[in-house]
Amino acid sequence: MSTFVLLTITGLGLGAMYFLIASGLSLIYGLMGVLNFAHGAFLTVGAYGAWFTESKLGGLSVLPRFLIAALAGLVVGAVFAGLVELVLIRPLYRRHIEQVLVTVGLGLAVSALVVAIWGNDARPFASPGWLGDTTTVLGARVPNDRWVEILTAIAVLVALNAFLRRTRYGLIIRAGVENRAMVTALGIDVRRAFTLVFAIGGVAAAVAGVLSGVYFGTVDPARGTSLLIFAFIVVVIGGLGSLRGTAAAAVVVGLLQQYANYYASSGLGDLSVVLLLGLVLLVRPGGLSGSFA
């Protein structure tokens, strides 16, 4: 029983990270039709931004240092993602294939640049001690950072939902996902929303980057790519462009991966996720949430 609880909460923590990456991917695809292969790079940039800030704040105690570093990581992620949209994606307006290709090139180049500057090895990322402690729940000793991951993802989900439902920009984004041509015809410049959506995706990916730093205790140049693949799977299972579908799929994928890795055999979790994707696509080609954007 205690193992099951631990696996469930760890799976939810993993799902939380998948959701943070996948939500940005899903929004960007829904609005712009661009499958963003540079999203892993956003995560890497955010994580290294936080790590770099932390390494420069030697004098402070751990908690303020961690908070400042995390904040810096988020800002770096947002600014980087926004700049990518302005400089690289916008000039290729309406050329989706080229936009995807540019994000592919950017993804390769950024991880290579990070390797060039900070090397291939994982760098230790310090987080407050209580994050590494455990809380006993139903007999299971659960590391505290899992709670932070789950709560952060829920907070991001609630905030994104509120933003999309309650603000004017959210309205434009939702309308744009639904029918971009119509929004343009009504005299609204959707392109401004594009930059915003990229920046939001960048922040969410950077949050995932910082949290993965806490989860693994290190930052590492290859992690962006490996998490990105599962985020892609989550997005497709959830249905591209649907935030709630993405959240549900992230939970399913995170849990399935943990259970299969433990109860069957290590490595089988990843395979069963792939199998799930195949099944979902064969039964419902549009993903769980229905229509294909």
Binding site: I97, G107, V115, L271, P285
Partner: protein, 347 residues
């Protein structure tokens, strides 16, 4: 017949390369007939040919696959495992690999082609990822995990082992590249080949004409994958072992980069792209260790030490300023291939 004159001339010239002791400064470290240079040239030929097989899917049929690396890896790993772990003879290993190279893409293609556009891209990516996971998981200690698996050289044909025989390997690579070129040329001009291009242009119209696109797409998927598997075998011979990098999703992305740099859906584009990319990758690595680079200030030197950074940036520049790739240089208009592909993806 006339369209074979230029390729035949190129083939003859390339066939004599191991006999030339010419030194080409900057392009290669040593003379053309030295083993190091021959191996690099052979790699260029192999990746040029594998890029051509990817172009069959991407450039000619409009299928954006992110899982082509899987079939290349099948060629690298199955032969390697069969001779090294199961101690089969080389011929038996080849026959078994050919079988897997046909059956696996037929099954996986049949599943993934049921969806189109982005979903197809994602399913192929997922299958390739499954292959990568398997290799890293190292079942029964077959694949060697992340350390890779050196091939048992006693099982390989003796004429293809050792530095002294690099020129033979070069010729094997050349024959492979020429064969792929001929098959691709023949296939895209055959009657199914015309249907592939029609599918790229407008799949709905193909259906309206009474043809079933599914069967044709499966055909090109199996053909391209089988040729990629053959390329994997040649790669294994060249390097004498398998490393898990060939299973990584990044390798498929690299193939995409090669094809786009060279020019999608053109006769020479993909081959040129693959060969140039491989050459640049290798030579940029060498150059970063050279004196000219190490004397640069660190702001410039650090990024230059990573070939992938330079190539990624070059790729972005190509997409922006040479949208048709090198094979269409000088033409300003966006190639129809990309336009059609985009329309296909949005349906």
């Amino acid at each position: 017949m006339r369209r074979l004159v230029v390729p035949a001339a190129v083939l003859v010239v390339l066939a004599f390369v191991p006999k030339l002791s010419v030194d080409i400064p900057y392009a290669f470290k040593s003379a053309l007939n030295t083993p190091g240079t021959l191996q690099l040239l052979a790699l260029c030929l192999v990746f040029g040919a594998v890029a051509m097989t990817y172009d069959l899917l991407f450039g000619y049929t409009g299928l954006l696959s992110f899982g082509h690396a899987l079939y290349f890896a099948v060629g690298v790993y199955i032969v390697d495992i069969a001779i090294t772990r199961w101690h089969w003879s080389f011929a038996a290993a080849l026959a078994f690999t050919a079988l897997v190279g046909l059956v696996l893409p037929a099954i996986l293609g049949a599943v993934s082609l049921r969806v189109g556009g982005i979903a197809f891209a994602m399913v192929t990516l997922a299958f390739a990822q499954a292959g990568s996971v398997l290799v890293f998981k190292n079942p029964y200690n077959w694949t060697g995990g992340e350390e890779g698996l050196g091939a048992d050289y006693t099982k390989l044909p003796q004429g293809l082992v050792g530095i002294f025989n690099t020129k033979h390997l070069y010729w094997v690579a050349l024959v492979f590249a020429a064969a792929v070129f001929c098959v691709v040329e023949w296939a895209v001009h055959s009657s199914p080949g015309r249907v592939w291009q029609a599918i790229r242009e407008n799949e709905l119209r193909v259906q309206v004409l009474g043809l079933r696109p599914y069967g044709y797409k499966l055909m090109v998927f199996v053909l391209a994958s089988f040729l990629a598997t053959a390329g994997g075998v040649v790669y294994l011979l060249l390097l004498g072992g398998a490393t898990p990098e060939v299973t990584s999703p990044n390798f498929t992305l690299t193939l995409l980069v090669m094809v786009v740099i060279g020019g999608t859906g053109t006769r020479w584009g993909a081959f040129l792209g693959g060969a140039l990319y491989t050459w640049a990758d290798q030579r940029l690595g060498d150059a970063s260790a050279s004196h000219a680079v190490s004397s640069l200030p660190s702001v410039v030197r650090t990024p230059l030490q990573q070939p992938l950074f330079v190539l990624g940036v070059l790729f972005i520049l190509v997409v922006f300023f040479v949208p048709g790739g090198l094979a269409r240089i000088g033409r300003v208009r966006r190639p129809r291939t990309l336009q059609r592909l985009q329309e296909a993806m949005q349906r």
